[in-house]
Structures are given as structure tokens and as C-alpha cells.
Symmetry: none
Subunit: 248 residues, 2 copies
Amino acid sequence: MLKEERLDYILKKLQADNKVLQTELSNDLQVSEDTVRRDLEALAQSGQLIKVRGGAIPHSPNPYSFKERIVYHENDKKHMAAKALSLIHDGQTIILDGGTSTLTLAKMLPPNLKVTVITNSVPILSQLVEHPSIDLIFTGGRIGKDSQTAGGMDTIKMLQRVKADLCFLGICSLHPVAGVTGLDLGEADVKTVMMESAYKNVALATSDKMGTAEPYKVCDITGIDIIITDKPELPSLQPYIDLGIQVL
Amino acid sequence: MLKEERLDYILKKLQADNKVLQTELSNDLQVSEDTVRRDLEALAQSGQLIKVRGGAIPHSPNPYSFKERIVYHENDKKHMAAKALSLIHDGQTIILDGGTSTLTLAKMLPPNLKVTVITNSVPILSQLVEHPSIDLIFTGGRIGKDSQTAGGMDTIKMLQRVKADLCFLGICSLHPVAGVTGLDLGEADVKTVMMESAYKNVALATSDKMGTAEPYKVCDITGIDIIITDKPELPSLQPYIDLGIQVL
DNA sequence: CGGAATTTTGCATAAGTTTGCAAGAAATAG
DNA sequence: CTATTTCTTGCAAACTTATGCAAAATTCCG
């Protein structure tokens, strides 16, 4: 039996049952569990399923989507959020973009902090609804299922009426020449307006986002005032410092 | 059975019942209570529920008070939501007001339903973000911490641009003479606009809300087309029927 | 086609996880 | 206060995974 036949069978079975067990597959395909394990690994590598102990499960939209919610680099992000926190003071109005870095920041906002938070991110909204002293504003509009953020004209119009002290940008790529870029045109538009609506713009970017670029431009790199990253000592950050951007 | 299946089952059950008991889960899943305990711990760790003695309760976006309310009359509400569900069909645009009855309805929307949902309720938003086929629109604005809904001018402006097939109204009091009334002026305003933005208005009201009134008027009782209640056979509902309102 | 190089497969062993159980501590209810 | 239930901790058994290795299969190349 060809390897491709096995992989095909595994995906078919996964689709039918919403899960596969290594022991079962080994039996069905008449190969050792080691081989099945290696097959699953290959499929996981190419993103066609999620490997779990004892077998594999499909991607969302499926019952197990929570598996994907686990945050990678969590410690890095907490560390970055702590730095971001030092920029925030009572009485300010801050804009929080979507993304896991900004969500981590939202989770860490101390309970007695008195600020106005404007966000377009559903997870951040859920998080801050429970916060006792934050004045919370959500930008309305159609909700993007992938990014879990609001977008479109309504979001942009609401943001245009705002002038915030700080804007924290989450998921996006930073490059000294290409500037700030994003994967989605609509989201890039929203980010652009967000940045125009704040006096100071702070980018939260793990080091793997630095020096990379994506299709849609948000703004020039000089639109960013502060970059917060997990490894501020990296020499690759020098170009940003030379442009007058503060790196924390 | 894969661990992930157990975790998934627990989350599903939690969503359906708003609580899970260790003894029950141990039985349902055919594993020891220790294992269930460890599973709950893992889910609590990743912030997907809150562990309490003997079981677990959901996390955001239902703060405790909200939860208390929804557990009360829960079966009545599921029953009512089932009736409401029968009014909804593919291709429609529906408005969901805040409140526990409408949240229950949102939870029960079948996974293959293709409708556009417009809501101002944070819990409903959180609920439906995960829905695979619903086009979701949230009305922006300042979030009221008590009601967990968006309110204010932005919300109203967005609603005014909409014309939906159905509007499901949650928490409010109904009275044959006083009409539809609410506890909060701002929320009453939003409800008024919501109703104007739909061809057909459906009130979800448990029987204890019938025949009562609160300070702020939303509209005359004739603004309601259908009343869905837990005890449609009560003679006290006759006045509404006489006014041409359908009672389910 | 032959034979070397590469890949795939299965096995053995060791390491790591998960699970259920037991005994005692802690919390809760009556 | 006592009885009951739930929680914690430690642990052993069962199971899963990682690794190195050798046999088998496949590919490559002249």
C-alpha cells in the first residue's frame, strides 16, 4: 500500500469520525503504530490535522477548536504586556487592536485601572466586560470569523470619531522599509484608521514578526512610535532605533 | 476515547447546562472522577471554565450574576427558545436583543443555519463568533456593564441602517396598557430603534414579566407581533390575543 | 538491468503521560 | 459536631511517544 493511500484513508476517516486513533489506523491499514504515528506527524506538519496523544483530530470548525486557542510564546507575551502596561495610566483612552499579544495585555490590566478602552476585538471585549473600572467601547460592524474582530465601514466610522492617547497594535508585520503590513486588506484599513485616531502608536511584535512583510500596507514604519518586543537587544532592531522609534 | 473528546464533551455540556458536575461527567464519560477533575483543571487552566467544588461553571462572558439568572427558569427558556427557533429560516436577517432568553436562543441556533444576526449583546456575540455559518454583526458603542449590551448613539445609528426580518426582544416587561417597558432609559431607546428596524417583532417573556411595567417606555403593546412565553395557556394572556398579537 | 543511495518501515528500548486507586485533609451539609 | 462529599497527594500499572537501528522497499543513475 502506498503511503499516499494511507494518508488519504486517514484524512477520509478523520472527516467521517471527527477523530482517528492510532491503534485503529494501525489495524485498518495493516502497518505498525510507528508508521501511523509518522503519517500523522506528516499530516500535522502540513496542517491537515492536529495530532493529539493517541490519535488525531481535525481543525476547526469542529468541536475541538479550543486546542488551537492555546497561546504559544505565552511567557514572551506576558513579558511584553508588562512593558506595555507601564505606558498606561489612569484617565487615558487607549485603543486595543486584535491579536493574542493585545489580549494578553487586556488580561493583565489591573482591576483598579481607570481608563477608557476602545477595541474591535471580540476576545478582548469578552475579557474586559468583567473589568470593574474600565469604560469599554466596542467598534461595531461585521465580525470577521477568522480574526474575531469587527471590521468594515461602521468600525472605521466609529474610530474616526475618536482621539485616543495610545493605540496598541497587535498582529502585523514590521519592516524598516515596507513599514507596517497585514494579511488582510480590510483589517489593514482598520489598523490604519486606528493609528490615525491615537496620539501615540505602540506595536506589540514578537521577534519573529520583525523584519517581515505581508501583502497589505497599514502605514510607514515611522507611523509607529514605540515597538515592544520580546528580545529588544537584537541587533536587527537597530534600523528602527535609527529612525527614532523607541524599542522596549 | 481521546482526552480531547472528553474536554470537548465537557465544554459542550457546560454550554448547554451552564454547569457540570464531576459525578455526572464521570458517569457520562466512563472515566474516574479523578480524571474528570484533572480535565476540569486543564480547562480551568486555559481559562475555558471556572472550577468550583463538585464541578465547574462557565467563564466569561457570563459574569456570576448573569449566570444566576440564566440558571433560573432555564428549562422554560429552552422551551421558549425552541418556539422562537421555528420562526427562523435560512436567508433571514434577525436582530437579537440582550437578555438571557435571547442568549438561550442564540445557543440553540443550529450549526447549519444561514442567517445574518445583528445584536448588541456581548454574551450573544461571544456565543455566535464560533458559529460556522452565521453572518454576525455587532452594533458598536459603549458597553453597559450591567446589561452587557452596547448602547448609545453609535448603536442606534447602526440599527437605523438595518431592516431585518425578525427582531427578538429579551428582557422587558409587557403590559396590555403600559406597553413594552424597560428599566433603563438608554436600553429602552435602543429597543425602540431595534423594533423599528424589523418587519416583525417577537417578545420573549417568561410569565412573571407579563402584566408588569417599568419606568421607561419602549413602545405600545401593538408594536409586538408575537409573544413567546412559557405558559401560553394562561387566561391573563387573553388581552394580548384580543389585540391581535399572536401568543406562542 | 545492476547496484548504490535514499527512504520507508518495524522493532527494541527507554522515557514520558495518563489513568485509577487509596489514604488522609479539607470543605460542606445536616 | 458528625457524616458525607470532595480535594490533594503519592503511586503503580497501562499506555503512548521518542530514538536508534537494521531490514526492506524504492529510487536513481549509468
